[in-house]
């Protein structure tokens, strides 16, 4: 770790101001950033902790019936309080271990956009809106490949709004070491169609499996996937599995998510 300053503002406005300083960086739960700092892979001048900002905390319902999660809300809080969206709560309950869930935040997870993280799949499958200090970004526009998002320098995820599906389930096949998703699939059924988002698998990060969406929108039953399949090309290949294996798992996990959702 290199030396850095630290500030803990209590409003979004102060946080945004603090982040304008050169080499300032937002700090959510620190579950990704602190290990990075320990390995001296980042050298921020000042860390702007978002955890004391009351307006970024907690879970509530919007007038439009969306589940709204404050950008600095921990996974444990979502697991406990997002009861209106059980698929989301159950997803949050399986992130990492208790220590990670009690520190890690939704804003940090979405800002980081780890290709194996769970939240991106939930946000994308829900067609969530990512609210920042300056704008609202649709999930479909937000995720732009591994560790890449639409966020600008210094932009803060203040809230995430999830339309609540009729039925949903997140199915995660864990990588044996990290227990992140080797492949994770979120299936969410809305009145106007089914969305299927896949994490862990693709070299381009979280993605929607549109063929599956079409099939399930037409027929939301356990065998609706039929002989749909994905290609291993463009899938992540590493010591935990080949591209072909991941492509296969996407199908299996989608089928299981579907079964659980029904």
């Amino acid at each position: 770790m290199y030396n850095f300053e630290m500030t803990r503002p209590s409003t979004i406005a102060d946080a945004v101001k603090a982040l304008k300083e050169e080499d300032a960086q937002a700090l959510g739960g620190g579950q990704t950033l602190i290990p990075t700092l320990k390995q001296r892979l980042a050298m921020p001048s000042i860390l702007v902790s978002l955890t004391a900002i009351g307006e970024m905390q907690g879970v509530c319902m919007s007038d439009a019936g969306e589940v709204c999660v404050g950008g600095a809300t921990t996974h444990a809080t979502v697991a406990r309080e997002a009861t209106a969206y059980p698929g989301l709560a159950a997803m949050a309950a399986r992130i990492g271990d208790p220590a990670v869930r009690n520190r890690g935040t939704i804003g940090g997870s979405l800002a980081n956009n780890d290709p194996s993280a769970c939240y991106p799949a939930a946000a994308l499958a829900s067609g969530a809106s990512i609210i920042t200090n300056s704008r609202e970004i649709a999930a479909d526009d937000y995720f732009q490949g591994m560790f890449t998002t639409a966020l600008e320098e210094g932009e803060v995820v203040t809230e995430v709004r999830f339309p609540v599906p009729e039925k949903s389930h997140y199915e995660k096949f864990v990588q044996p070491a990290s227990r992140f998703a080797l492949v994770g699939v979120m299936v969410a059924k809305y009145a106007d169609g089914v969305r299927v988002a896949v994490t862990g698998a693709s070299e381009s990060g979280v993605f929607r499996w549109t063929e599956a969406e079409a099939a399930l929108s037409a027929n939301f039953t356990a065998d609706a996937l039929g002989d749909l399949s994905l290609d291993g090309d463009g899938m992540i290949a590493d010591l935990h599995g080949s591209g072909a294996y991941r492509a296969h798992l996407v199908k299996v996990m989608t089928g299981r998510a579907l079964k659980a959702a029904i």
Partner: protein
Amino acid sequence: MPKDNTQTDGGIGASTLRREDIRFLTGEGMYTDDIQLQGQTHAVFARSDVANGVIKSIDTSVAAAMPGVLAVFTGADFAEVGGNPAGWLINSRDGEPMKEPKRPVLAHGKVRHVGDAYAAVIAETRAQAMDAVAAIEADIQELPAVINMADAVKGGSLVHDEIETNVCFDWGWIEDNRAATDAAIKAAPHVTTLELVNNRLVPNAMEPRASTADYNKGTGEYTLYTTSQNPHLTRLLISAFVLGIPENKLRVIAPDVGGGFGSKIYHYGEEALVLAASKKLKRPVRWTASRSESFLTDAHGRDHVTKIELACEKDGTFIAFRTETMANVGAYLSNFSTVTPTFLHGTLMAGNYTVPNVYVNVKAVFTNTAPVDAYRGAGRPEATYSIERVIDMTARELGMDPVELRRMNFVKPDQYPYASAAGLEYDSGNYDRQMDKLEAMIDRDGFEARRIESAKNGKLRGLGLNAYIEACGIAPSNLVGILGARVGLYDAATVRVNATGSLAVMVGAHSHGQGHETAFPQIVADMLGIDPESIEIVHGDTAKIPFGMGTYGSRSLAVCGSAMVRATEKIIVKAKKIAAHMLEASDADIELVDGQFTVAGTDKSVSFGEVALKAYIPHQYPIEDIEPGLEETAFYDPANFTYPSGAYACEVEVDPETGKVTIEKFAAADDFGNIINPMIVTGQVHGGIGQGIGQALIEQTSYDSDGQLLSASYMDYAMPRADDMPFYQVNHDDGTPCTHNPLGVKGCGEAGAIGSPPTVVNAVIDALQRGGKNITHIDMPLTPSRVWDAMNAKGV
């Protein structure tokens, strides 16, 4: 001598709770990194990020001038001191001694693996030292790395240019049996051949390695606090081989140590560096490994590539085992890297069986990877895995029941002492009895019903059963000396009775998770008939304990415990003399029962405490005949190895859609001879099996072709967690006592890790076979992707 295993008075056989846990579990342990010394400074190492390279130049001038920097060392500073030696000389089949390239304190001339330290900075703070390390300018010309053993043996790029080969030795065991074994296999009606990999493991002790050196310029004495399993051995290596510090001026303290599993047996360069730096600066110098340094530089385990053949008659009678193994030793010879794949592996290659022919060939191979050395089980897991996998395969080929095939070849109880074809003399055992117990524990008869139930849920269920035998308490010194050991393998204990009747027992064994502080007093208390709470175990400090060889190879109880028994016997002899004087009787008439010395057949007695007091306040004392004091030391050099054995069973479910294996049941029937503390033994078995399951299913150490460690953190290196493990059924009752040590004990520290990997793999293969898949072998770890790949390979 031990009484039955159910005694509950705190002596032998009692499941006394571990007294050391109070401090471990309440954060009161004192580990090396907890020791803070006045004026301490911090060492940080510059480590190679290439696997093979020539050091063209190292410019430390900028680093040396940075804030807080006190000294910078490079390999050149240690060019004149000795190398860290291999503890065992192995001769090749042709009689040539093994190749022993120097292992320097810091790499000099060449770096040989990622993580190889070539410089070190000492500074006032750790952060300053890290900054200065980043400012060292090393011009290292990268060379092609030698990673794969099959490539390494062909030559080409060399790890050590001066030895002109990457093969350290080419060993045959027993070379005189080679021709007979070859002929027997050639003539055999049935031969099963299996090629397998015993996967490389990272030890991952919870506490990373740490060393703090404190040179006292007033006395010229060095104190080294270090994470060691054997402080005397570390002192000996540093004194006699590396730095030449006289033994009387070097005190090595291994305080609480948070796990070792073998990786802390060895002397490492960091220990020498902090000692030399402390001498130069006249200030304490400390270093604690980061977890990343642990992954890159702790001696790894296993890493064998093996071809094993089992020849047998048509009815399954074993004729011969023949093994060809390449054993990775990594970039340098760690202290026991040469004995582990040879005498701790080849001598076990007859297993529990009456096979007449055994021949083992082992080539030890240098590669540009971290050194490989003994890791929980050390050689015996490799032997057991090869034998017990090939037997399962043979059973399948012959259409025989795998348990029946084993039983018909077991050494039988009336055959002991049994001279195995691999050169050992097994003293005791009863493999059929363990197998009987095991089949009942796992409810083998109920397996088919459970399998059908699993199938209903879309899962393939399989059952694996196997036996194992291992060898603990490596000895005797005379024999190992002939075989190439450069150390003795006895141990020592001093029993000091205090004036008020409490005891301090100073032992050469070192406890770093084993529970010696609880189990050892149970023995002495039993012998003296006193309360175990009045006995303190002292270990881990060369200034306090007799010269012992530390803890590894499940030797502590069998070897050091035996020394403790001998010392306590001497105490009893002397105490009886004192008691006889006090009671005005003859020594021969004195009996020690429940802590009272009594004149046989009378009610005249004195207590142990009264005798102790008399020894230290020798008024009215026969000073001409008996020295004052009550303190005795004994060294014990065993007559033979001990031979724990057992039978393990595992039931798994395989998810055919994902390849994921889950362990549904695991049963272990072990024979550890007599048991001192059954609860501690159960814990050791649980931990060992946990490590075995980790090796079998998830632990994967992977280097890429450039020698970068791909699994260099917990993001990619999977350690078994609680939910990866089943509830174990463990039984170690009715052991056959060891016949040659006074406690009749065999050792239990490694058994779980030795017996379990083949059990798990046998179970998975069984599940796949029963599921209609023509799969005969998958290399460990059986991760979901590997199992799925195997199931989806062509022709399966």
